[in-house]
Symmetry: C2
Subunit: 151 residues, 2 copies
């Protein structure tokens, strides 16, 4: 009798996205740790992805990342404590706080982009340059169709 779990027969598209995604995360955050930033966890990417060179308000970061300001504050506090961010009161709005990358934070962002590019190059090596390019284009079109922000 066939007692294999159903998903061994044909993987769902969800699994086909999840498994590479998790592998990619291990590569990128492992690489970040190897480069001297073991404190950076996947959740922190929400900050690095959305902050921009001139910094941003906490609320703006939260909105761009699609999460509550409380959750974003939790991430920002950790990064600030580790010296990746600095924050200062907004001179134009006494309620607000402008969060910015420090030089150390800049290096993390750079490493993050480097490691992502390297990982993508390794994918191209494994499945072929043409196929990898098609994969990227298909995903870009899908994301476009979803109409997603950067999450």
């Amino acid at each position: 009798m066939d007692n294999r779990p159903v998903t061994e027969r044909r993987r769902t598209l969800g699994a086909l996205l999840r498994l590479p995604y998790e592998a990619l995360q291990r590569e990128v955050y492992g690489g970040l740790a190897a480069r001297g930033f073991p404190e950076i966890r996947p959740a922190h990417s929400a900050v690095f992805r959305h902050i921009g060179p001139d910094g941003a308000r906490l609320t703006a970061l939260a909105e761009r990342a699609g999460m509550t300001k409380q959750s974003m504050a939790y991430l920002v506090d950790g990064l600030e404590e580790a010296g990746h961010l600095r924050s200062a009161p907004d001179p134009n709005d006494g309620r607000a706080r402008i969060v910015q990358l420090t030089a150390k934070g800049d290096r993390v962002l750079e490493a993050l982009l480097d490691l992502s590019a390297e990982a993508e190059a390794r994918v191209a090596d494994r499945i072929g340059k043409r196929r990898a390019a098609k994969l990227r284009r298909a995903l870009e079109e899908w994301v476009e169709a979803i109409g997603a922000g950067t999450g």
Copy 2:
């Protein structure tokens, strides 16, 4: 000056996997809730994906899912309480417990696969049948190259 966050210029492959994955999850688990199973959360898929028609030991489930037995026990307990699983002592091993899907659990698994297939069909509608097929093949090859289990 250009103050856009870096990731608005070119998305990393990670983001290109994550955004569709999250969209897919919303569709699938939203659909599951609409079909009368609002208690099923994404983490539970680790159980449904790996259990198989004859059931499995807790430890086997944990190992297949790549998590600790304590974590798997947490998921299994929730599903058992909700009537999706039943568990019985293993007649061949006094230490072990065999976990199995109930009829209700079978319906969830069926719905999960249905909804995944529907979501995949919608992707094909949006980005084109050919491109969707290429996307699936590229991802399958990538997963193969990783040598991943089903996670």
